[in-house]
């Protein structure tokens, strides 16, 4: 009989191998899914996973889509490490877009190079405020942050809907629920002419670096890890759990807010009723797939971005339903969680007789 035996320490090699195995299994499942949908599986796999990367433009689009995922994912991974489950990044992203985008609209006639920093700052603040609410409710009233942060996501999406349908609607926009186009002074600079690659990607790379240093080189980063892995030890060491909850929510909220404002003032250029194709939720998968490690999140963000542009490409080229993207994202997380058991446990073969002999 096979039994699972807890490893003393997580297997480092399995931690790296398990995401690769999960991705492989997802691609294999793709063959089945495409066959069920009556599409040629090999052709579909090619259009989904490879064709988008065959052009230079496709490659920059991959990075554009990966940018918000990495920004949010890096922030979430800090909280997840400390067992603070911020599930409401979608709301913090939206709030960042609202606060930053609102600033851009308010300063739309100002021709100053200070507009962009103000827009970005307000975007980050918007995300932070929206992240601080669950932190407050958790630390003050012990309310579960999973549920409160998620409920606040719905609230943020409704606020955005109200604003673009009402007070912020562009009067010259033929009654479409859209804001005015932001002025050039509120827009993030494009990094590569002719593409949508913008400075937001720079922020993503920078955040990976900063959080990496925070986690690996500072006492604070050490505290995040200990609180998650050994809460009792952390308590004895006198680590302030309340402080870590606040910091987790502020960092992840702020980065989600930065992702939100980078998306609207870097990629979209105005406020729309929907500014995110579920980046806040996909980033949860990115954080796990990247092993809650900033560098891992960087790679995981690129991989999950591929499911977005692959899905779009497959929709245009072979008429696959757009929902396939979400399906792949769910499947990849399932496989990852299943494969992860081998990082924490060793598979042991125990013949029945021997087990009995020992007792």
């Amino acid at each position: 009989m096979f039994t699972l035996e807890r490893r003393v320490e997580q297997s480092k090699s399995w931690l790296v191998f398990s995401p690769i195995m999960a991705i492989g299994l997802t691609v294999l499942s793709g063959i089945i899914i495409f066959s069920v949908l009556d599409k040629d599986p090999w052709m579909s796999l090619y259009t989904f996973f490879i064709q988008p990367l065959t052009t230079g433009f496709g490659f920059t689009e991959l990075i554009v889509k990966a940018t918000p995922l990495i920004l949010i994912g890096v922030g979430l991974s800090i909280g997840f490490k400390a067992n603070v489950w911020n599930i409401g990044a979608e709301g913090q992203f939206t709030m960042g877009a609202i606060a930053g985008g609102g600033t851009a609209l308010f300063l739309n006639t100002q021709e100053s190079f200070l507009v962009l920093p103000a827009v970005l700052l307000m975007g980050i603040l918007g995300g932070i405020v929206w992240g601080m609410i669950p932190a407050f409710l958790k630390t003050k009233f012990n309310a579960n942050e999973i549920l409160t942060s998620l409920m606040l996501s719905y609230v943020a999406l409704l606020i955005l809907s109200y604003l673009v349908h009402g007070p912020w609607r562009d009067p010259g926009g033929y009654n479409f629920p859209e804001s005015k186009i932001f002025s050039d002074f509120a827009m993030l600079p494009i990094l590569l002419e002719g593409t949508r690659l913008n400075l937001g990607t720079g922020f993503a790379v920078l955040s990976v670096l900063i959080i990496y240093i925070l986690l690996s080189r500072t006492v604070l980063g050490y505290q995040f890890k200990v609180v998650g892995l050994a809460p009792a030890a952390a308590k004895h060491a006198g680590f302030d759990r309340v402080k870590l909850i606040w910091l987790s929510m502020i960092i992840s909220g702020g980065l989600a807010g930065l992702a939100g404002i980078s998306e609207v003032s870097g990629t979209i250029g105005q406020l729309l009723p929907s500014v995110s194709p579920g980046y806040g939720f996909t980033a949860i998968i990115v954080a796990f797939l990247g092993r809650l490690n900033p560098v891992g999140v960087l790679f995981a963000g690129l991989i999950m971005a591929l499911t977005y542009i692959g899905g779009e490409n497959a929709q245009i080229e072979i008429g696959l339903p757009a929902a396939v993207t979400g399906l792949f994202q769910g499947i990849i997380l399932f496989y990852l969680l299943a494969c992860d058991v081998l990082a924490r446990y060793r598979l042991r073969y125990k013949p029945f007789l021997k087990a009995r002999d020992r007792e």
């Binding site: 009233f141 606040l152 929902a323 399932f334």
Partner: protein, 305 residues
């Protein structure tokens, strides 16, 4: 204002919450936190809708919806009980997967309208003014939801099996030492939770709004999870909570209809804000939570030989 009509719509809005929360209550009482309620409800909703459209039989549809949701719960059970995966992460995976798969299956069913679930008709009884329609004119899932609340309340407090389930949820190690099959009990509790979420989803797409729309649960699964905390893990209080939320959902719709100068978006926020408010009210009292919450909830169990 027709009070009977309002009460009828309140029942319709509360039933899916009641069904899902009752299922999640049993799952959590066994010590397992399943955050996949939203995903399971969506899978239940689209399966019930698809099978009803194809076979023209609502009963088959509901059964299929419940079966589909239960099989998703089966996957969850395998992952958290056998593969020992983190329950929070696996529940989220279930929800993300459920949203994706239901949207994919549902692409062929958008824009089709169905006859709502048939209502009970007891002739004279159902025709009685005011109470006739409310008491004797509902569809079978409404009656089932009430029956389930009574059954679950009785099961948890009065039966031996209910006691074992609670023991497993309180301390899996002690329950294991006493010789109770911890994993089996939890597996069955997870499957029951999935079954109830399937009924809840079926109700949404067959009775509440008899059509399919992507993501039509709109957070109801998460509200159901919150309701279990709100009801401090007791069946009757959970049921009261479900009706409180059903009432809020319906009243905000009626207020929108009265032509008040409040944007509809703010009224639509009410159920979500109310969820936060009740969570805060209940969780504030740490003693109450500690007294009622299953102590082993969310913890991984590995049998020691």
């Amino acid at each position: 204002m027709d009070v009977v009509a309002i009460v009828l719509t309140i029942i319709t809005a509360s039933t899916p919450l009641l069904l899902a929360a009752t299922g999640e209550l049993i799952t959590e009482k066994s010590g397992v936190l399943n955050l996949g309620v939203e995903g399971m409800m969506l899978i239940g909703a689209i399966t019930a809708f698809a099978i009803t459209t194809i076979t023209d039989s609502a009963v088959l549809g509901v059964l299929a919806g419940a079966a589909a949701s239960t099989s998703l719960a089966f996957v969850f059970g395998v992952l958290v009980l056998i593969f020992l995966a983190n329950q929070v992460a696996t529940g989220l995976a279930l929800t993300i997967f459920g949203i994706g798969l239901s949207a994919l299956v549902g692409t062929g069913f958008v824009g089709i309208a169905l006859e709502p679930l048939p209502k009970l008709d007891l002739g004279l009884l159902s025709a009685m003014p005011v109470i006739g329609e409310i008491l004797f004119g509902q569809d079978f899932l409404v009656y089932l939801s009430f029956f389930m609340v009574v059954l679950v309340a009785y099961f948890l407090s009065k039966t031996r099996l209910g006691l074992i389930l609670r023991a497993v949820g309180e301390s899996h190690d002690s329950a294991h030492a006493l010789g109770y099959p911890v994993l089996l009990v939890r597996f069955l509790a997870i499957l029951f939770g999935g079954f109830m979420c399937g009924l809840a989803g079926s109700y949404l797409s067959l009775a509440y709004t008899p059509l399919w729309a992507e993501n039509m649960t709109a957070g109801r699964g998460w509200i159901a999870v919150a309701l279990v905390v709100f009801g401090t893990w007791r069946a009757v209080r959970v049921a009261l909570g479900a009706y409180l939320f059903g009432t809020i959902t319906i009243l905000q719709l009626h207020v929108q209809g009265w032509g008040l100068e409040i944007a509809s978006q703010f009224m639509s926020m009410l159920p979500y804000l109310a969820t936060i408010a009740v969570l805060v009210l209940i969780s504030r009292d740490g003693a109450k939570i500690r007294l009622n919450a299953p102590q082993s909830i969310g913890k991984v169990f590995t049998p020691s030989r």
